[in-house]
């Protein structure tokens, strides 16, 4: 009396696939580049209360992982690659992000006002 495996697999595929692609308007764009293991700009200011889209262009040859606990992001960017992540509307504050592979030296901030 157990559900068959294929059924479960199908259920996941559906659950993930159906997740509605929504929301687009009224987002703040933040453009970042990573070069010589430094984020540029190191600090960006955004309006509080608006969703954010962060675009990161990695100009280094090595991969990096854009990560931030406060912003709840975690995404690998290949060497020479570009990624986009969505961040919720932020409360006013200063939010740190970093390259997980070089956390101590490669970091930046997003300031929501």
């Amino acid at each position: 009396m157990t559900p068959p495996l294929p059924l479960l697999a199908l259920a996941i595929a559906l659950a993930v696939g159906v997740a509605a692609p929504a929301l687009a308007d009224d987002q703040t764009q933040v453009q970042l580049t990573l070069k010589d293991h430094k984020f540029e700009p190191a600090e960006s200011t955004v309006s509080a209360g608006k969703p954010i889209v962060i675009q990161l262009a990695n100009q280094d040859a090595t991969p990096a992982e854009l990560e931030s606990k406060e912003l709840r992001i975690e995404k690998i960017v290949a060497g020479g690659g570009t990624i986009t992540v969505k961040v919720r509307a932020l409360k006013p504050g200063r939010y740190r992000f970093f390259d997980d592979y070089h956390e101590a030296t490669t970091q930046g901030f997003i300031v929501a006002q």
Binding site: L8, V16, T62, R72, V77
Partner: protein
């Protein structure tokens, strides 16, 4: 060197603990070592592929390929864990008091082993791809420090394997009659934690733009990037700054797996007293 050791070990914690748990759960079941090994190999191969095609994966599906992939394989692992629990409940509950009989019962459950092998593969693949990319970065950067860093990475990996062993032998000290209940609980919490992680990837992709506020911030008390925090993160899904959606998904997953495990368990859980052995065939 220490830096590389820490980075690799940190990534290896989750996979290490999960492998340890799976080994303990399937302890004594013929073929289980082979299944776990196959899961690890599949995970390593998958990790290498994910790392090699990281760029293509990131730009797939309008730039949310990486998130969708992570959410999908995490959900797969959650379902496999749930399915394992349900299977164990429906087949092994009345036999739980007799570990040897339970082992025999599980023996016929190759599908349950397969489910756990998938879980191992997913865990190794997810963490392994990040380690592979980190190592690739080290090698690509070259220089005299690269070798030092690689040695550190090797040690970090070894520490991850050691954590697997600690988890396994730790669980092995639990008396067989209690082990069933303990692992059922462990797997339920593990699954809920993975489901919450999957929810976060959907939010990051912008596919679940609801309940995105931070539910609590306990990073000052126990950071989930500390060693203990990481271990708790794997075992019970502890997060120091979860979104409300993550908390909801976590709670729902716990409740659903618990309910399903109950629902599929045989009604008659107690053995009739003094049944002659011959009647059992």
């Amino acid at each position: 060197m220490i830096g590389a050791l820490i980075i690799v070990f940190r990534e290896a914690i989750e996979a290490g603990i999960i492998v340890g748990i799976v080994l303990a759960v399937t302890q004594g079941v013929p073929g289980s070592r082979l299944m776990a090994g196959a899961g690890i190999v599949a995970g390593v191969v998958g990790a290498s592929l994910v790392a090699a095609f990281a760029g293509a994966l990131a730009s797939a599906l309008n730039g949310v390929g990486q998130e969708m992939f992570n959410a999908a394989i995490l959900s797969l692992a959650v379902c496999m864990l749930a399915w394992h629990n349900i299977w164990m409940a429906s087949h092994g509950r009345e036999l739980a008091a007799d570990a040897r009989k339970l082992g025999q019962e599980v023996r016929s459950g190759a599908r349950s082993l397969f489910a756990l092998a998938v879980v191992v593969a997913v865990a190794v693949m997810r963490e392994g791809s990040e380690i592979a990319l980190f190592l690739y970065g080290l090698v690509a950067a070259g220089g005299t420090t690269a070798r030092d860093l690689l040695v550190g990475s090797g040690l970090g990996l070894a520490a991850g394997v050691a954590l697997s062993a600690v988890t396994y032998f730790g669980l092995a000290t639990i008396p067989p009659r209690r082990l069933f209940a303990v692992t059922t609980g462990l797997i339920t919490f593990l699954a809920a934690g993975l489901a919450a992680q999957a929810a976060n990837f959907l939010q990051q992709a912008g596919l679940a733009p609801l309940m995105s506020d931070t539910a609590w911030d306990t990073s000052a008390i126990l950071s989930d990037t500390s060693l203990f925090g990481r271990v708790l993160h794997t075992l019970i899904g502890y997060s120091d700054q979860p979104s409300v959606l993550q908390v909801v998904v976590y709670a729902v997953t716990l409740a659903v797996i618990y309910a399903l495990t109950k629902a599929f368990a045989p009604r008659v859980a107690r053995r009739p007293p003094q049944t002659p052995l011959t009647q059992n065939g």
